[in-house]
Amino acid sequence: MSRAARRRAALNLTLALIGLLGAVLALGLGDYPLTPAQVVEALVGSDSGFARTVVVEWRAPRVMVALAFGAALATSGALFQSLTRNPLGSPDVIGLSTGSYTGALVAMAWAGSGRLATTSGAIVGGLATAVLVYVLAHRDGVQGFRLIVVGIGVTAMLHAFNLFLLARLREETAMTAAIWGAGSIGLIGWDRALPALAVLAALTPLTVAAAPALRQLELGDDAAGGHGLRVEPARLAILALGAALTAVVTASAGPIAFIALAAPQIAQRLTRSPGTPLLASALLGGLGLLAADLAAQFVLPMAVPTGAVTVVLGGAYLVDLMIREARSDKTAR
């Protein structure tokens, strides 16, 4: 392991510790404020007073979900950006979140606003969009830039379709749909959090297993194939994994922008790692969504959905990214 690799490991450890501290702080914030010491006492202590109810029943789901969903979105973004070798190749840019929204809207239009219908609709919608983009972009293997261009086209079409669907929904269903479409983790209690967290936990070992293949694909298809990787199946599996991570999160919380796009890029700058770092992205994604959710609850004068905060940040970041790309393109020539 080179010095650079050791430095990255230290940085990851630091990020994990910050995440832990952030979580303890967040568990203390609210109408019934608690000091970090009280939070720890409530978590690990034996007494089952009111503080414990507040921390474990009310606040813990939201904090856990923020960390886990942020990590999942960022990992998904890292997988897609690494495969496409492009900072814009993130699942929300190539249409997976929009596709999940379409799936949810279709489910609501036909099966009402029941949670099971919405969730399954969103998962099916997200995965179907991934398949659609993959098939449309496929020509003798899938190449990154084509995937992004096709993805952006599909996003635009689905977006128009979503507006059409929203206009046709009955009024109260449309309200539910709009709230879901804004992306919020505030309404998720343990009952809804647990299934999603369980699926994410199941996807984690798969992601760990996929990491070496991802590192090989960074070397170009021929070098990766020369090392014994089955290039096209590996790419397909990684795309499927990335799509599943985003679909699960979107199905429970609605589309949450920015995290998948930005966390991997910031992680890469911070760790100066070759390629897109999976672990650092996940850690930063968790931190990022936790921070965005705290801002949505406590910093802004009125409560707004988490998704709104990340959309604003994401929009600014995207503009900045595009300006930089345009500039570096010019200087490259």
Binding site: S2, R215, L219, A223, G228, P274
Partner: protein, 265 residues
């Protein structure tokens, strides 16, 4: 006597989509030899190398490794026998030399089975053999073209295969570094590796190869020892270049000297 061979292409038809590159091409790689493939641009040298390394499946025919079709062998098992340095590879931005070389260990690693000491030893040895040990901590994208090429070769060496295929390992190098890389390949060959390289310089090919494969538009024109194969007639047939072939004053191997182009003024 037919040279012993472990790797060969048997009547392979190679194509990209509808673009047919080679039909019923047969080529054998002598075991323990230093084989050089020469031929004009776009004649299919890289394509043949990719087929030999199992990156491209033949439409017809088969590539044999130790008498068995490589298409039926696990990719990682093939990659433990045959290493490939592709014509173009990508170094992830900012990667340290040592970390890049270590990625060549992939075919020896699995989720359940890892031997970090063996990996580490192979990486150290590969960097020493290519003279890049001092650069271990440096970022690959901050190296000169020659240093970078040696790092890529180190990655292929770390793969620790009996057979190594190199696609134009000397391109972008100055003459001193070209010779250095060729000498490196020769010394690897002496230590028992079967080396196959695509080269464009006919004189270097003739000097370093123990076996030549001469290609033109998707077929093998001729094969054999450089002293027998490299003739004026062949060079003018394959490259359309009138030339003289003299004995190389240093090694005695054939030396190709292009004749002056006819002046029209």
């Amino acid at each position: 006597m037919e040279p012993l061979q472990r790797l060969s292409a048997q009547a392979v038809t190679l194509a990209y989509g509808r673009r047919l590159v080679a039909q019923e091409l047969t080529a054998a790689i002598p075991h323990g030899g230093f084989t050089v493939i020469v031929g004009p641009n776009a004649c299919g040298k890289s394509t043949l190398l990719r087929a030999l390394a199992r990156l491209l499946s033949p439409r017809a025919g088969q590539v044999l490794l130790d008498g068995r079709s490589i298409a039926n062998q696990p990719t990682k098992a093939v990659a433990r026998q045959i290493g490939l340095l592709p014509q173009t590879s990508i170094a992830p931005p900012g990667i340290a030399v040592e970390d890049l070389v270590a990625r060549g260990r992939y075919p020896h690693q699995s989720l359940l089975q890892r031997s970090p000491e063996r990996d580490r030893a192979a990486v150290v040895e590969a960097m020493a053999a290519t003279g890049v040990s001092d650069l271990a901590e440096q970022a690959v994208d901050e190296l000169s073209g020659g240093q970078r090429q040696r790092v890529w070769i180190a990655m292929a060496l770390a793969q620790d295969t009996d057979i190594i295929l190199l696609d134009e390992p000397t391109t972008f190098l100055d003459i001193a570094h070209q010779v250095e890389v060729l000498e490196l390949l020769t010394s690897l060959n002496r230590r028992g590796k079967t080396v196959v390289a695509v080269l464009h310089d006919l004189n270097q090919a003739a000097r370093y190869a123990s076996h030549l494969i001469v290609m033109a538009t998707g077929r093998v024109v001729t094969t054999g020892a450089p002293s027998e194969v490299m003739t004026e007639a062949l060079v003018s047939q394959v490259f359309g270049l009138p030339c003289l072939v003299l004995p190389d004053p240093v090694t005695g191997s054939p030396l190709v000297v292009p004749r002056r182009a006819e002046r029209t003024d």
